[in-house]
């Protein structure tokens, strides 16, 4: 059933009573078609059913908690499920009953990656060194979600401190891909992506330092949105690489990811790298497909990044990307090929910068003020043992690589050089985005691979980040949305298209992405696991 998508903000300004009595129905029902309908925004569907009295926040919460109970033994997306979900939902219902104003995220169930601080709830970054840590404060992004009525369902699994692409580097558990339980969900925000794909929550927060939101979005068949660096406050996000980290959003639709992003964006005085740029009303981009013109993206210039479609990319991924490009053309886009000559340098530059910055950021985990402590007779021994036992293998390796790259005499050869390469990459993107509205590429060179396949070879795993790291180096916004299925698993494996925009131009990405998604025929991106789950 197609529905008119309306900006939630306009709804929240109307007193509740008037809406209940109103004869005007927010959603425009249209004739059901025999083809698969375009996906609907869960945030707006929730809002509509709460405001109309069709259901309550508590009922919705119960059904999601039941789904979590049924699917968690196989999926292991969550490290911690909140004990307060029903209580929070009941509070929303009480506010509705009193006719109080509702925030745009009222009753929306949200998963939060475990490296984002949630007051009183364990936040471990999937590391033993923070195994029982409960932060005394909420991250700004979490605080904003709560202020707008969102309900934190729980903390999702990830690769330890964000270092990894599969969740296999979690100290606690490996998350399974809902499309094929023998495959990885991607990483490091694998838990957040899989939880949305499996409908354990409606939307979720992740973090993206080198592709950690976009690659799992591709592997799990959901939308992953990485904002411009500085768009969302990093206060409360446990730092991995401070010049690259951003908090990002997952949703089952572009509209949901966009609305969540809007909720958490904005300047924050607690993050000196957060931007004072205005946050536009992203929601105005989410028109109903009924209102699309015949060529709704007429004249939009799209550049395909040539270097991302050469050898080394699975043929299935390449075809899916090319089909997505044709779909954009059919919508009116003008497609050209662009070249980013510095493209291949991004991967080593990224790993130098990320491991260097992480070696500095992770020095705070010393077992003294928080986290697991291994007592010793001497202070340095305490540090060494607490960190030696608390950190996993991949984390230790990256800290040591970073320590090396930043050592006296090596700084110029590695870190400084990588920063210079960053300048070259930024220049290439800037030039390409002056000629094009957006750039597109695959999100990853393959679909989800088997658990254990790349665990022992760090370079093979790093290679998978080739499509995503340059965007972090340039600080640009990017979104991945499912565009097709390739062979593998019981019903095929999803593949995502990456769209990259100019700095702070999330609006354009969301507009193009939403129209692409709502007009894409033929694929329903609901994993087969859900066929037997209510």
């Amino acid at each position: 059933m197609l529905s008119t998508l309306q900006p939630p903000r306009s709804l929240s300004l109307l007193p509740l009573r008037r809406l209940r009595n109103s004869k005007t129905i927010v959603s425009a029902a249209s004739s059901t078609t025999s083809v698969i309908s375009p996906p609907q925004s869960q945030i707006l569907t929730t809002r509509r059913s709460l405001l109309s009295g069709e259901t309550t926040a508590a009922e919705i919460a119960k059904s999601y908690l039941s789904r979590i109970r049924l699917t968690e033994p196989q999926l292991k997306c969550f490290l911690h499920v909140s004990e307060n979900v029903l209580k929070d939902a009941q509070e929303i219902d009480q506010r509705i009953a009193k006719g109080e104003e509702l925030g745009p995220l009222a009753g929306v169930l949200i998963g939060v990656k475990d490296n984002i601080c949630t007051q009183g709830m364990p936040s471990t970054a999937a590391s033993r060194i923070l195994e029982h840590y409960r932060p005394p404060f909420d991250a700004t992004a979490v605080k904003k979600i709560k202020e707008l009525g969102g309900i934190v369902v729980g903390k999702t699994n990830m690769d330890e401190f964000g270092m990894g692409s599969t969740t296999e580097a979690s100290a606690f558990q490996v998350t399974a891909n809902p499309w094929d339980l023998s495959r990885v969900p991607g990483g490091s925000s694998g838990g957040s992506a899989a939880a949305v794909a499996a409908r354990q929550c409606m939307v979720s927060l992740g973090s993206d330092t080198g592709g950690s939101v976009r690659q799992p979005a591709s592997f799990c068949g959901v939308v992953g949105l990485k904002p411009t660096y500085g768009r969302v406050s990093r206060f409360g996000l446990m730092a991995y690489a401070s010049s690259l980290d951003v908090i990002g959003c997952f949703g089952s639709t572009v509209a949901d990811a966009g609305m969540l992003l809007h909720a958490i964006s904005g300047y924050d005085r607690f993050d000196s790298t957060s931007s004072k740029q205005d946050v536009p009303e992203f929601q105005s981009q989410f028109l109903s497909v009924d209102h699309f013109e015949s060529k709704p993206l007429n004249g939009v210039k799209v550049g395909i990044i040539r270097e991302t479609l050469e050898d080394g990319v699975d043929s299935g991924v390449r075809s899916a990307t090319q089909e997505a490009a044709s779909h954009l053309e059919a919508l009116g886009c003008v497609l050209t090929e662009v070249s980013l000559p510095s493209f291949s340098l991004g991967l080593p530059a990224y790993y130098v910068i990320a491991s260097s910055e992480s070696s500095s950021n992770l020095s705070r985990y010393d077992g003294v003020r928080y986290g697991n402590q291994v007592m010793a007779e001497e202070l340095n021994k305490l540090y060494e043992c607490s960190r030696g036992e608390g950190f996993g293998g991949e984390v230790k390796m990256r800290i040591l690589m970073g320590t090396y790259a930043l050592s006296a005499g090596y700084y110029d050869a590695y870190y400084k050089r990588a920063q210079q390469v960053r300048t070259l990459i930024r220049k290439d993107f800037k030039a390409a985005l002056e000629q094009n509205d957006i750039l597109i590429s695959p999100a990853a060179p393959s679909a989800a691979y088997k658990i254990g396949e790349k665990k022992d070879d760090p370079l093979a795993m790093y290679a998978g980040d080739i499509m995503t790291v340059n965007v972090n180096l340039a600080g640009l916004p990017a979104m991945v949305l499912p565009c097709g299925l390739v062979e593998g698993g019981p019903s095929g494996l999803p593949v995502g298209l990456q769209m990259i925009g100019a700095a702070f131009d999330e609006e354009k990405l969301l507009k193009v992405g939403h129209i692409f998604e709502q007009t894409l025929k033929g694929s329903s991106f609901v994993p087969p696991l859900l066929a037997n789950v209510p």
Binding site: S315, V352, V368, E377, L379, L400, L476
Partner: protein, 155 residues
């Protein structure tokens, strides 16, 4: 160019220019091809690997001494861990070496993405309300003090 990055990653190894068939498989899709494709790949890889081999400026830099790095980073490693780490780290650092090939003459290093400047706060203390929660996280706390063992002078 994506090819070169991907293949260079797989082939980065100080003493070898060849890649085992199992490594190639990771790059090839399950729906693709034949031994002809594989041989073409391996010749290309051999060429690229030679261009990224260790006969460059990076030979001036000493290879990583993992025990010393672990000491600097205050991380204790078992001998088995040191051995495992050493192999992996050397491969990765070697792979980093390709950055030495890039002409960065007169290129300004970028600290981060472009930013509005001047987002500094007043240097004035603010009280944090939830001090009990902070205290609850401290592993060894004895009223008003975080307890730690003695510090020995390094020899």
């Amino acid at each position: 160019m994506a090819t070169r990055a991907l293949l260079a990653v797989i082939s980065a190894s100080p003493n070898r220019c060849f890649i085992s068939p199992s490594r190639i498989k990771i790059l090839q899709s399950s729906t693709s091809s034949s031994s002809v494709h594989f041989h073409r790949h391996s010749r290309k890889i051999h060429r690229i690997a030679r261009s990224y081999s260790s006969d460059s400026d990076s030979s001036v830099l000493q290879p990583p001494d993992v025990s010393r790095l672990a000491q600097t980073a205050r991380i204790s490693l078992t001998p088995a861990e040191i051995e495992e780490c050493e192999t992996k780290i050397r491969r990765v650092i070697d792979w980093f070496g390709q950055l030495q090939q890039v002409d960065v003459n007169s290129v300004e290093p970028a600290i981060r993405a472009e930013m509005d400047g001047g987002n500094l706060r007043e240097d004035a203390p603010e009280t944090f309300e939830n001090r009990d929660s902070i205290r609850a996280s401290i592993p060894s706390f004895e009223e008003a003090y975080l307890k730690v063992p003695k510090i020995l002078n390094k020899e």
